[in-house]
C-alpha cells in the first residue's frame, strides 16, 4: 500500500487522537463501565490501523519498527504476569488481588449495590487492564503492520 490521497491522510490524522483518547478511556474505566483492556486496546489498535491504511505500510514501517512494537508487547505481558507473581510474593497465591483493600493504590472498597463508581478501586484490576491494553495495542498493530508490509513487498501477490 502506498498511501491514499491527501484528504484521507488529513482526516485520519485529525481523527486519530480522538480514537486514541476514547480507547484509553475504555481501558481506564474497565472495572467500572463496559469495556476493559482488550476492548480499549482493540479501539486504539484500529486507530493505528487507520493511520496505516491512509499513509501506507512503507511509510508507517519507517516510523514504527515492528521490533519496537515487539518490545512494547513483551513489556505489557511481563507487567501482566508480573502483577500475578507479585500476588504470589505478597499474598501467597498466584493471581491474588493483593492491592485490593490494602493501603496502597486502587484500594477503595466500593459500596455494595448500585454506585457511581470510584476510579481508585478494584486493586490489581486496573493495572492488569492497562497491561493487557498495552499488549493488545502493540500486538494487533504489529500483526496488521507486518502483514501489510510483507504483502506490499511481495508485490500484491503477483509473483
Amino acid at each position: 500500500m502506498s498511501g491514499m490521497s491527501k484528504i484521507v491522510k488529513t482526516i485520519s490524522s485529525i481523527a486519530f487522537p480522538f480514537v486514541m483518547i476514547y480507547g484509553l478511556y475504555i481501558i481506564a474505566h474497565g472495572h467500572l463501565t463496559p469495556g476493559g483492556g482488550f476492548q480499549g486496546g482493540a479501539i486504539v489498535a484500529s486507530g493505528a490501523a487507520m493511520i496505516l491504511v491512509s499513509y501506507g505500510s512503507v511509510w508507517t514501517m519507517g516510523k514504527v519498527k515492528e521490533k519496537k512494537l515487539s518490545i512494547l508487547e513483551s513489556t505489557g505481558a511481563i507487567v501482566f504476569i508480573g502483577t500475578a507473581i507479585l500476588g504470589l510474593l505478597f499474598a501467597g497465591v498466584f493471581f491474588n488481588n493483593f492491592l485490593f483493600d490494602s493501603n496502597l493504590i486502587f484500594n477503595i472498597v466500593p459500596v455494595k449495590g448500585s454506585t457511581v463508581g470510584i476510579l481508585n478501586s478494584a486493586g490489581t484490576l486496573p493495572i492488569m487492564n492497562f497491561a493487557v491494553g498495552l499488549k493488545v495495542v502493540a500486538g494487533l498493530f504489529a500483526i496488521v503492520l507486518v502483514m501489510a508490509y510483507a504483502t506490499t513487498k511481495m508485490g500484491g501477490g503477483k509473483k
Binding site: 513483551s74 504476569i81 507473581i85 500476588g87 504470589l88 497465591v93 498466584f94 493471581f95 491474588n96
Partner: protein
C-alpha cells in the same frame, strides 16, 4: 531451607506454567542482547521448569492429588468459582513427558538453528508451546483446557511453518491449524453445553454432577471427536505426517508432546469426567456386563487397529525419511489407544458384587498403554532428531539421495540404531518393555489384536531397516561426499534421549512401579479426583 522448599512445592503448579510463560515474554528482549545469552537463558528456563515439575511430581506421587487455586487462599468450593489446577498421577506423568521434550529440543536447537533467522521468535514459540502443554495436562478446568489447547496449537502451527520457503511446511501448517482450530471450537462447544447444563466449568464439579442424557452424549461425542482429531487417530491422521515432516526436527519433538497431551485429554474425558456414567450397567449376562464403556472400548479398539495398520502401510510406501517417521508415529499412537481401548472393554461384574470392575489383564493393558506414551515420546523424538541431524548435514531427507552416512556420522548412526530398536520393539530398549505388556494383555482380550500388533511391529522394523540400509550403509553418493558429524549440542540432545531409552529398557519394573502405576491408579479412581476439589461430597 525446608521452608523455602515447602513453599516452592506448594506453588509449583502455578510456577510450572508461569516460568515458561515469563521466559517466553522475556526471550525477545534477551534476544536483542546476544544470541548466546539468549540460548543459555532459554535452556535455563526449561531446566527451571523441569526442576519445578520434578518436585511437583515427587509431591504428587508421595502425597496424592494436589490442587492449586488461582487468586484466593481459601476459595469457596460451593460453588467452585475460581480456576483450579488439579494434579493427579496421570497429570504428573504427562507433565514429566511434557518437560523432557522441550529441554532436549532447546539444547538440540542451539546447533540446529544456528544459521536460521528469527531465532528469538523460534525460542519464544517453543517456550510458549511448553507452557501450553503443561497447562493442558495440569489444569482442572474445562475452559482453561481450551485456552491452553489453543496456545499449543497456535504456537506449534507457527513453528511448523518455520521454513516458509518450503511448500510442504506451509501447506502442512495451514492444514494443521485448520484441523486444530476446528477441534478447539468443538471443545469450546462441549464446554458451552456443560456450562449450560451444570453451570460449572470445573472438571471435578462436572464429573460429580454429570448424568448421561442426550446433551451429555452430544458433548461426549464432540469432545472425543475433537481430541482424537488432534491426537491424530485414524481417520483424522492425515495432518500428522505432513506437520511432523514439515516442521524443523526439534519442533517436531515438542509437537509429539502436544499430540500426547490431546490423547491425555481423551483419557481425562473418558476416565474422569464420564468415569461414573460409563460404569452404569445397561444389561448383564452372568459376570459379563454391557456398559457404555464396553461400547466405547470396542469403538476405540477398532480405531486403534485402523490407525496402526494405516500408519505402518503408509510408512512402507513412503520414500522420505521424516515422513516415514511421521507415519511410524501414527502407528505408535495406535498402539497406545489399542491398549487403552482393550483395557476399558474388560469391565466385568465380580461374583457377589453389583458394581463393575476392570479385569486384571485390562489393568495390565492400561499400564502398558500409559507406559507406551512416554516410550513413544522418547523413541519418535530420538528418530526425528536423527532425521534432523541427517538433514542438517546433507540438506536432504529423501532416501534416494542419501547413502553411506555411517562412515561420516558415527554417533548419529548409533543413535539411529537405538531409535530403530526402540520403535520396533526389540529388546533391550524401552519399546520392547511396553509393547510386550501390550501384546500379553491384548492377547487375553482378543488374540487377533495381539497378532495384528506384533505383525505391524515387525513391519515397522522392516521399514526402518530399509532406511538404515539405504541412508547409513552402502556407498557414498555425490550429495553426501562432504558430510561432517553434527555439532556437539545436537549430539548431547540425542544422547539424553538415547540414555533415557536404554534406562527405561533396562529397568522397566522401576519405571512402571514409580511412574506408571500411580498414573494408572489415578485414571481408574475418578471419585478421588472429584473429592480432592469438593472435599468428599
Amino acid at each position: 531451607m525446608n521452608d523455602i522448599l515447602s513453599i516452592l512445592i506448594n506453588h509449583s503448579p502455578a510456577l510450572i506454567v508461569a516460568v515458561p510463560l515469563f521466559g517466553a515474554f522475556l526471550t525477545p528482549l534477551v534476544g536483542m542482547i546476544n544470541d548466546k545469552i539468549r540460548n543459555i537463558f532459554v535452556i535455563f528456563i526449561t531446566l527451571l521448569t523441569g526442576f519445578f515439575t520434578v518436585i511437583l511430581v515427587n509431591e504428587v506421587f508421595t502425597n496424592g492429588i494436589k490442587t492449586y487455586c488461582f487468586g484466593a487462599e481459601n476459595p469457596s468450593v460451593n460453588p467452585v468459582v475460581r480456576i483450579f489446577f488439579e494434579i493427579d498421577g496421570m497429570s504428573a506423568f504427562m507433565a514429566l513427558i511434557a518437560v523432557i521434550l522441550p529441554i532436549v529440543a532447546v539444547i538440540y536447537s542451539w546447533g540446529f538453528a544456528k544459521e536460521e533467522t528469527g531465532q528469538s521468535k523460534y525460542y519464544t514459540l517453543i517456550l510458549l508451546m511448553t507452557a501450553g502443554i503443561l497447562g493442558m495436562v495440569l489444569t482442572g478446568d474445562m475452559f482453561n483446557f481450551f485456552v491452553f489447547l489453543e496456545i499449543t496449537s497456535i504456537s506449534s502451527a507457527a513453528l511448523v511453518a518455520f521454513w516458509t520457503n518450503k511448500k510442504n511446511s506451509v501447506q502442512a501448517a495451514f492444514k494443521y491449524i485448520v484441523i486444530s482450530s476446528i477441534g478447539a471450537l468443538m471443545v469450546l462447544f462441549a464446554v458451552a453445553i456443560f456450562y449450560g447444563q451444570y453451570n460449572a466449568l470445573n472438571m471435578a464439579v462436572i464429573a460429580n454432577n454429570i448424568g448421561f442424557g442426550f446433551l451429555d452424549k452430544i458433548a461426549l461425542v464432540v469432545l472425543i471427536a475433537a481430541l482424537t482429531m488432534k491426537a491424530a487417530i485414524a481417520p483424522m491422521h492425515m495432518w500428522l505426517p505432513d506437520a511432523y515432516s514439515g516442521a524443523p526436527s526439534p519442533v517436531t519433538v515438542v509437537i509429539v508432546g502436544t499430540t500426547l497431551a490431546s490423547l491425555y485429554g481423551v483419557f481425562r474425558v473418558v476416565f474422569t469426567i464420564y468415569g461414573k456414567q460409563f460404569l452404569t450397567i445397561l444389561r448383564s449376562f452372568g459376570d459379563f456386563a454391557v456398559t457404555p464403556s464396553l461400547l466405547i472400548g470396542v469403538f476405540i479398539v477398532v480405531l486403534a487397529v485402523l490407525t496402526i495398520v494405516i500408519g505402518v502401510f503408509m510408512a512402507l510406501k513412503s520414500n522420505d525419511f521424516k515422513r516415514m517417521i511421521g507415519y511410524a508415529a501414527v502407528a505408535e499412537i495406535g498402539y497406545m489407544i489399542l491398549a487403552v481401548g482393550s483395557a476399558i472393554s474388560t469391565y466385568f461384574i465380580p461374583t457377589g458384587t453389583t458394581t463393575v470392575t476392570m479385569a486384571e489383564h485390562g489393568k495390565m493393558a492400561l499400564t502398558g498403554g500409559i507406559f507406551h506414551m512416554i516410550n513413544d515420546a522418547l523413541d519418535i523424538g530420538l528418530l526425528f532428531l536423527v532425521a534432523g541431524a541427517v538433514y542438517y548435514a546433507t540438506k536432504e531427507t529423501s532416501l534416494n539421495k542419501l547413502g553411506g552416512l555411517s562412515r561420516k556420522m558415527k554417533y548419529t548412526t548409533v543413535f539411529f540404531l537405538i531409535g530403530l530398536f526402540a520403535v520396533s520393539g526389540l529388546p533391550p530398549m524401552n519399546g520392547f518393555a511396553s509393547k510386550l505388556i501390550i501384546y500379553q494383555s491384548t492377547y487375553q482380550v482378543n488374540p487377533i489384536l495381539a497378532i495384528v500388533a506384533i505383525l505391524c511391529s515387525i513391519m515397522l522394523l522392516a521399514v526402518f531397516v530399509k532406511v538404515f540400509h539405504s541412508a547409513f550403509l552402502g556407498p557414498e553418493i555425490s550429495s553426501t561426499k562432504n558430510v561432517k558429524e553434527v555439532p556437539k549440542s545436537m549430539l548431547i540432545a540425542m544422547g539424553i534421549l538415547a540414555a533415557l531409552i536404554i534406562f527405561f529398557g533396562l529397568f522397566p519394573e522401576f519405571v512402571i512401579t514409580n511412574i506408571v502405576e500411580p498414573a494408572k491408579n489415578a485414571l481408574l479412581n475418578s471419585s478421588e479426583y472429584i473429592s480432592a476439589i469438593l472435599g468428599g461430597v
